[in-house]
C-alpha cells in the first residue's frame, strides 16, 4: 500500500464510493421491485431524527437567550451537541465510521488509501453537517442577534461543526482501536453498555435541560469562577465564539487553540484508521477472531429450564417467538440494546416522579392527587413505553429475510404477532407493575389502595398492548432496520406515552376514584375496552397480515 502523500485522490472513485455508501445507508431495504416500507409517521427515519433535533435546538437556543455570557451559552450548546452527535453515531452510524466488511468488497479494486479515506471523511462530514445544522443553526442565529454580531453566528456554527467532526473522528479512532484490541463481539457488547450509559444523557438532556440552564444562569450571576470549563472539549470550541466578543483572556486563547489542535490531531489519527490498509488489517483480525470464537462456541444441546418452561405453553407460535427473542437478545446487540434501554428510562422516570421530595399521590385521595400536580405521573410512563419499546424492538432485525419461514409454514401469523406482545407483558410489564405496587404501598400507606390502583393500571396496560398490536401488527424480526429509525422510535416512545399518561391519570384521579361506584365503573369500562380490542384483534389483524408480503431484500 503506497503512502497517503504519494497517492492522488481519484475523483471518479471518490464520487463512486461516496455515492455508493450514501445510497447503501439511506436507501430503504424494501423488496427488490419497489414498495418502500413505511417509516415512523410516514417520515424517513433520518429526517425524523433531524426534525427532533431541530426541536431540541430551539431549547438550546433559549439557553443562549438566557445566558449572560457568550462562552457559557456556547459551552452549553456545544456540550449538548457533542453528546447528541456521539449518541447518534453510536446508535445509527457506527458502521459508517469503519466496517470490517468494507475490505472484502473493495479489495479486488484499485482503490487507493487516500481516496478511501476522503470518501469516508466526506460521508461522515455529510452526516455531521446535517446533524449540526439541525442542532446548531438556530442557537447560532440567536447568538448573532442577541450579541448584535454578524460574525458571531458563522463562527459559532463553525465551532459547532468542528466539534461535531472532532467527535465523529474521536469515535472512529475509538471504535477501530477497540476492534483491534479485543474480540469483535466483546467490543460490540462494551459499546452497547456505553450506549446504554449515554441514554441517560439523551433522556436526561431532554428532561433536565431547562433545569441545567437555570442553574448555569444562577452560577454566572453569583460570580462563580467558570475557568475550569476551558479544560473540557466543549470549552475548547466554545472559546472560538467567545474570542470574538472582546475581553479575551489567556485561558480563552489557549482553549481556542486546544480546540484547533484537537481537530488536527483527530484528523491525522483518523487518516491512519480510515485507510484501506487499516480496513485490511481489521478484516483479517476480525476473521481470525470470528473463527476462534465460533470454534470455541458450543451451545448446549439439551433443552434448558427456559426451553422446558416454554414447552408448557400450548401454542407453538409462542414457543417459536419466545425462543427467538431470547436468542436475539443474547447475540443481537441492536436488539439487546433496544430492550436494555428500558432500564435507564425507567430509572429516570421513577426518579423524576419522586424527585424534589414529591411523592406518589394516592389517586383515591382526590385532593392530594390534584394538589401534587403532574410531574409524579412520570412513574406511570414506564408502563406505556416498556411494551412499546419491547414490541417495536422485536419487529426489526438484520436477519429480517429469514422471516420467509413464517410465510411458507402454516403458522398462525396473528399468534406470532401477539406472542411478542405477550412476551413484553409477562416478562417486562408485570414485574414493573409489581415494583409499582410496592412503591405505591409505601407512598399511599395503604396496600388496598395500591392493589386496586394496580388492577386499573394492569387493565390500562392490556389495552395499550392490544392497541399497539392493532395499530401496527408486526411479525417478529421481519423488518429491516433503517438508519435513524431507532433514535426516531426513542423520541416517539418518549413523547406519546408522556402525553397519554398525563392526561389519562389526571382524568382517573379526578373523576374515577371518588368512590366504590366510580372505581367499579372505571374497572368495568377498562375491561370492556380490553375485550373489545381483543375482539378487534382477532378480526382485523389477520386481514392486515394477509396483505403483508415477505421482504426478501
Amino acid at each position: 500500500m503506497a503512502t497517503m502523500v504519494k497517492e492522488p485522490i481519484d475523483k471518479r472513485q471518490l464520487k463512486t464510493l461516496l455515492k455508493a455508501s450514501l445510497k447503501t445507508d439511506l436507501r430503504s431495504s424494501a423488496s427488490r421491485f419497489g414498495g418502500e416500507r413505511k417509516s415512523l409517521l410516514g417520515i424517513p427515519p433520518i429526517a425524523f431524527v433531524l426534525l427532533m433535533y431541530f426541536m431540541v435546538s430551539v431549547m438550546l437556543a433559549s439557553v443562549i437567550g438566557i445566558a449572560n455570557d457568550v462562552f457559557l451559552g456556547a459551552f452549553f450548546v456545544i456540550g449538548m451537541q457533542i453528546v447528541f452527535i456521539a449518541i447518534t453515531i453510536l446508535l445509527e452510524f457506527s458502521n459508517l465510521i469503519l466496517s470490517p466488511d468494507d475490505f472484502p468488497i473493495l479489495a479486488p479494486h484499485p482503490v487507493n488509501s487516500r481516496t478511501f479515506f476522503v470518501a469516508k471523511m466526506l460521508h461522515l462530514a455529510i452526516y455531521v453537517t446535517l446533524l449540526v445544522i439541525s442542532l446548531g443553526l438556530i442557537p447560532a442565529v440567536v447568538a448573532a442577534i442577541k450579541y448584535k454580531s454578524v460574525l458571531l453566528g458563522p463562527v459559532m456554527f463553525l465551532a459547532s461543526w468542528s466539534s461535531g467532526i472532532a467527535t465523529a473522528l474521536f469515535f472512529a479512532v475509538f471504535y477501530t482501536l477497540m476492534l483491534r484490541l479485543g474480540n469483535r463481539e466483546r467490543m460490540h457488547r462494551y459499546l452497547s453498555y456505553l450506549q446504554l450509559l449515554m441514554m441517560f444523557f439523551i433522556y436526561g438532556g431532554y428532561q433536565f435541560l431547562p433545569d441545567v440552564g437555570r442553574r448555569m444562569l444562577a452560577l454566572t450571576k453569583s460570580g462563580f469562577d467558570l475557568s475550569y470549563l476551558y479544560l473540557t472539549p466543549p470549552g475548547w470550541f466554545a472559546a472560538w465564539p467567545a474570542c470574538l466578543t472582546g475581553g479575551i483572556s489567556p485561558a480563552q486563547v489557549w482553549a481556542a487553540i486546544a480546540g484547533l489542535v484537537s481537530l488536527v490531531v483527530m484528523y491525522f489519527l483518523g487518516i491512519s484508521r480510515l485507510s484501506i490498509g487499516y480496513a485490511q488489517t481489521l478484516n483479517e483480525t476480525v476473521e481470525q477472531q470470528q473463527s476462534k470464537s465460533e470454534s470455541k462456541r458450543e451451545v448446549r444441546g439439551h433443552p434448558g429450564i427456559f426451553n422446558r418452561l416454554l414447552q408448557l405453553f400450548s401454542a407453538p407460535e409462542d414457543r417459536v417467538v419466545w425462543q427467538l427473542m431470547r436468542k436475539q437478545f443474547k447475540y443481537d446487540n441492536r436488539y439487546k440494546l433496544s430492550v436494555l434501554m428500558i432500564i435507564p428510562l425507567t430509572l429516570l422516570y421513577v426518579y423524576m416522579g419522586l424527585k424534589d421530595g414529591q411523592v406518589l399521590a394516592d389517586p383515591f385521595n382526590v385532593v392530594a392527587a390534584v394538589a401534587k400536580g403532574g410531574s409524579n405521573f412520570t412513574v406511570y410512563m414506564a408502563l406505556a413505553f416498556i411494551p412499546s419499546m419491547v414490541i417495536f424492538g422485536s419487529a426489526y432485525s438484520a436477519s429480517y429475510q429469514a422471516a420467509w419461514i413464517y410465510y411458507t409454514s402454516p403458522a398462525d401469523r396473528t399468534r406470532l404477532v401477539l406472542a411478542s406482545n405477550r412476551f413484553a407483558t409477562i416478562f417486562f410489564c408485570i414485574p414493573y407493575l409489581v415494583f409499582m405496587c410496592v412503591l405505591m404501598t409505601y407512598f399511599f400507606g395503604s396496600i388496598l389502595h395500591a392493589f386496586l390502583h394496580c388492577v386499573v393500571l394492569f387493565l390500562v396496560l392490556l389495552a395499550l398492548v392490544d392497541l399497539i398490536a392493532l395499530i401496527a401488527p408486526r411479525i417478529p424480526f421481519s423488518l429491516p432496520m433503517k438508519s435513524g429509525q431507532r433514535t426516531g422510535a426513542m423520541m416517539i416512545t418518549m413523547f406519546i406515552p408522556m402525553i397519554a399518561v398525563m392526561v389519562g391519570m389526571r382524568i382517573l384521579s379526578r373523576f374515577g376514584y371518588g368512590g366504590v361506584i366510580g372505581y367499579g365503573t372505571i374497572v368495568c369500562v377498562l375491561t370492556l375496552i380490553v375485550l373489545l380490542l381483543s375482539h378487534l384483534q382477532r378480526r382485523l389483524i389477520p386481514r392486515r397480515l394477509a396483505k403483508q408480503e415477505c421482504l426478501d431484500g
Binding site: 419497489g34 414498495g35 462456541r297 427467538l324 429475510q401 420467509w404 410465510y407
Partner: protein
C-alpha cells in the same frame, strides 16, 4: 396435483409473471427454467405464500392457495434460493422452530431433529450458531427444514448451490426418492445438466410468460437440438452465444484502449 391457472403478478408497471398456466401430476419432478429475471422466483414465491398473485389461481391437491393457504403449507416444503436464516439460532433450534411452526407433536420433535441432523452430517455443527456455518451447511439445514414435516409437495429454488459433490448426489437421490413416493417436486435451477437428469417434465419461461413445456426429450426434439442447453438458448433467444462472447471481448479491449 398442482394446477396453476392464468397466474400473473405485477410490480408497478412491470409484469413479472403474465398469464402463466401449467399442471403438475403427482409423482413428478417438475423443472422450472428460465433466464435471470424470467419470473421463476416470483412464481415460486406465490406458490409458497410469500407473495400474492395479482390475478390467477393456484390449486394444490384441490385446495386454493388464496383461501386454504395454511392447509396447503402444512403439506408443502420449501428450500429458498437465499440462505436466509436467523443466524443467532443453532441448527438444532432452527429445525425445532420449523417443527413448531408446522405444529408437529412436541414429544417427537427432539428425536426427529436429531435423526435428520445425523443423516445430513450436521451433527458437529448442530449446537453451534448458524452464523458460523458454511454455505453448504446452511443449504443442508434449509433442506432439512424443508422436509422435516414430511411434505407432499417440495419446492426447491436452486438447492444445489454451495454443496459439495457428495451432498449434491445425496440431494439428487433424495429428490428422486421423493417423486417415487408419489410426491411432487418442483425444481428451479440454472444447472441444465442436473435438470435434464432428474426432471420428468420441464417448463421454460421468459419475461413471465411460458415459452414451452414438455419432457426434456420432447423439448430437445421440438428444437431439433441434442442438448437441453442448446434448446434453452434457442428458446430464450440466446442463439449467438459465441458472437456475444467475442463482442464482449472486443468491447472491453476497445474500452481499455480508449482509456489508455
Amino acid at each position: 396435483m398442482i394446477k396453476v391457472d392464468n397466474l400473473s403478478r405485477q410490480y408497478g408497471t412491470l409484469w413479472a409473471v403474465k398469464d402463466l398456466s401449467f399442471e403438475i401430476a403427482d409423482g413428478q419432478v417438475y423443472g422450472l427454467l428460465g433466464p435471470n429475471g424470467a419470473g421463476k422466483s416470483t412464481t415460486v414465491k406465490i406458490m409458497v405464500g410469500m407473495m400474492a398473485a395479482t390475478t390467477g389461481e393456484i390449486t394444490i391437491n384441490g385446495l386454493n392457495i388464496k383461501t386454504d393457504g395454511n392447509a396447503i403449507k402444512a403439506n408443502l416444503g420449501f428450500v429458498p434460493e437465499s440462505c436466509a436464516l436467523y443466524e443467532n439460532l443453532t441448527g438444532r433450534e432452527h429445525l425445532e422452530m420449523v417443527c413448531n411452526l408446522h405444529h408437529l407433536p412436541v414429544e417427537g420433535i427432539e428425536s426427529q431433529v436429531t435423526k435428520l441432523i445425523e443423516l445430513l452430517d450436521l451433527k458437529d455443527a448442530a449446537d453451534k450458531r448458524i452464523a458460523g456455518y458454511s454455505k453448504g451447511m446452511k443449504q443442508k439445514l434449509l433442506l432439512a427444514g424443508g422436509i422435516i414435516h414430511n411434505p407432499r409437495v417440495l419446492i426447491l429454488d436452486e438447492p444445489l448451490s454451495g454443496l459439495d459433490a457428495n451432498a449434491q448426489s445425496l440431494f439428487r437421490e433424495l429428490i428422486k426418492e421423493f417423486a417415487r413416493d408419489n410426491r411432487i417436486v418442483i425444481f428451479c435451477s440454472h444447472v441444465l445438466e442436473v435438470v435434464e437428469r432428474i426432471c420428468d417434465q420441464l417448463l421454460i419461461i421468459d419475461h413471465g410468460k411460458k415459452l414451452t413445456e414438455g419432457t426434456p426429450q420432447q423439448i430437445m426434439e421440438n428444437q431439433s437440438v441434442t442438448t437441453l442447453g442448446e434448446a434453452f438458448n434457442r428458446l430464450t433467444g440466446a442463439t449467438d452465444i459465441d458472437d456475444q462472447a467475442r463482442g464482449i471481448l472486443r468491447a472491453i479491449e476497445r474500452g481499455n484502449g480508449d482509456n489508455g
